[in-house]
Symmetry: C2
Subunit: 336 residues, 2 copies
């Protein structure tokens, strides 16, 4: 089902995005290859790369919301391509910031070309995202294009705010649950919110309807992050592709862990240990289970999920909602 | 004279730029302070910083071209503030890429807050530059604002291309003079070209006139960079604020040095030495003098300067050109 949904847009979306990059990026002295590599189009030596990297959740959400609001999705490709380029720009810089060696199973851009080049390749992709958004003027009025630009800009600032909080929280012993939700507003949810909003705005040119879609996307984003947090502790390794309790091993400040630090002195005490052995990890999970941390997180996930669905109802979709609902089901089942 | 010119816009320009940043940058957990510090508004601890950093060449050029084309410069403040924010964004990332400890006599952003935070603060300032540009819609038509956006976007890609070439050239033994000019097109000249073009476009809404101004700014930028290259070898330390022959010591690939590598085998031979002592530096300058490298560079500077002035004539300025000419004289005399 979900493959059909993503596949619906794949060919034209890909064509649009590659065309935008090819037309606007001068390919000089190994400059363009970094961008193409990060997009998953080529190998390090600029030969074609065939495996699909990334899941294109963001552009798909944007185009689905556009269709759900009775839009012609081909008119929204410039925005869909912009959010995908923006997302990939942020991954290039994230990987430097987190000193991550791998992304989608391949060496990261900084790992191959060095930090200085990776910063610059990210900056180029940031500019390309705006270039793509600018192509909206080929399909919609200048007023609508400017409105989309404004929303996009605002989102970019939100992303840097979320990224700042995320890095800041890593240095703190304790983070309040409320502050954590504020962080994922920026870090995960803001871009999904913008996808939903832009899709609807391009379809309807109605700010009020687009705002309901934004609320839908925002709450889907928060719920999705919380679900990810749950899987980071209780997920099955063969489904998530990560080792069990990976977020405990890496001491990630995820929602269940922050809840544990708030509710369990034993958990706080355990977390003073500089390193964890296998027994410590099992004990940490046990302590979280004792205070029903998983149940708490699931309730929070359900809360934001419900908020999202209420917002979608309030938007009074004029188009067929079945594909969008199918896509959301896929996000929350993770049946891939 | 030049203080009066820059001073003409200073108060309103500053107000506009600070207002744009304050309105759009959420100030959370030490996030905003990095941006304000980089702009030279505050100290590391967010207390006011009084010394002026930077010379505001770019916004001043933009506003002067606007007035020279009979514009109301207050309508161009959004663009002037955008180019200044963009320039400062690029400095934050440049300083990481070059591992520079100092900028305007103060520790660089990455030196104080670390690389990860500095990358993010730069990204935030990049987005703020677009936010400022977007405020053009308060003063000009949506069509004009979109045109300005397009030019700005294109420039941002040019800047990353120039930055890439600059970093790339550092790793090469030899760079052709033509490639060097292509690099400074992006690295120095593209933003000055855009300043002149945007100033004129906002004044006239005439693409052809704006293009002449762009040519003016582009050639001024190249001439200015070549002048900087000359001063990096033959400049008086008490005027340039750098030690004599600083570009030789740092083996910068500047125009006279590339000319030396093309024209003098003795110079090429000297450059194979892994480190230079004082005698080597003096000998390098002597070798450059033997092949008239300074004369060559001065001729190139004059060539681009003349191109710039021809373009300015071709633009047929409708306003008073005396301030703009005074400003250009100042750039090339460096009497500050």
């Amino acid at each position: 089902m979900v493959k059909q949904i993503i596949g619906r847009y794949a060919v034209e979306f890909d064509r649009f995005m590659r065309e935008t990059v090819a037309k606007n990026l001068t390919d000089e002295n190994g400059y363009g290859v970094m961008v193409r590599y990060a997009m998953g189009w080529v190998n390090e030596d600029d030969t074609p790369y065939s495996k699909t990297t990334g899941k294109r959740l963001r552009p798909t959400l944007l185009l689905l919301c556009n269709e759900t609001a009775s839009g012609n999705w081909k008119h929204a490709l410039a925005a869909a391509s912009a959010v995908e380029l923006l997302h990939n720009f942020s991954l290039i810089h994230d990987d430097i910031q987190d000193v991550s060696d791998l992304r989608h199973g391949r060496p990261t851009v900084w790992k191959i070309w060095g930090t200085a080049n990776a910063i610059n390749a990210g900056d180029a992709m940031f500019a390309l995202a705006y270039t793509s958004m600018q192509r909206l003027t080929e399909y919609v009025s200048t007023e609508q294009a400017l409105k989309a630009w404004q929303i996009f800009n605002h989102t970019n600032l939100e992303l840097t705010r979320g990224q700042h909080l995320d890095m800041r929280f890593e240095t703190l012993d304790k983070v309040a649950v409320g502050d954590y939700i504020s962080m994922i507003h920026g870090k995960t949810a803001a871009l999904l919110a913008t996808c939903a909003q832009l899709g609807a705005l391009i379809a309807t040119d109605n700010d009020e309807i687009a705002q309901y879609y934004r609320d839908f996307g925002l709450n889907i984003g928060i719920a999705f992050q919380i679900r990810d947090d749950i899987l980071g502790i209780w997920g099955e390794p063969d489904i998530t592709g990560k080792s069990a309790a990976t977020d405990i091993i890496s001491r990630k400040k995820s929602l269940p862990i922050l809840y544990g630090l708030e509710q369990s002195n034993l958990f706080v005490q355990l977390y003073t240990k500089p390193t964890f052995n296998d027994k410590d990890v099992l004990y940490a999970v046990e302590l979280l289970d004792n205070i029903n941390a998983q149940k708490y997180a699931r309730e929070q996930e359900a809360l934001y999920y419900e908020k999202a669905m209420t917002a979608l109802e309030a938007a009074q979709p004029t188009g067929d909602t079945s594909m969008l609902r199918g896509f959301v089901d896929f996000l929350f089942q993770r049946d891939y």
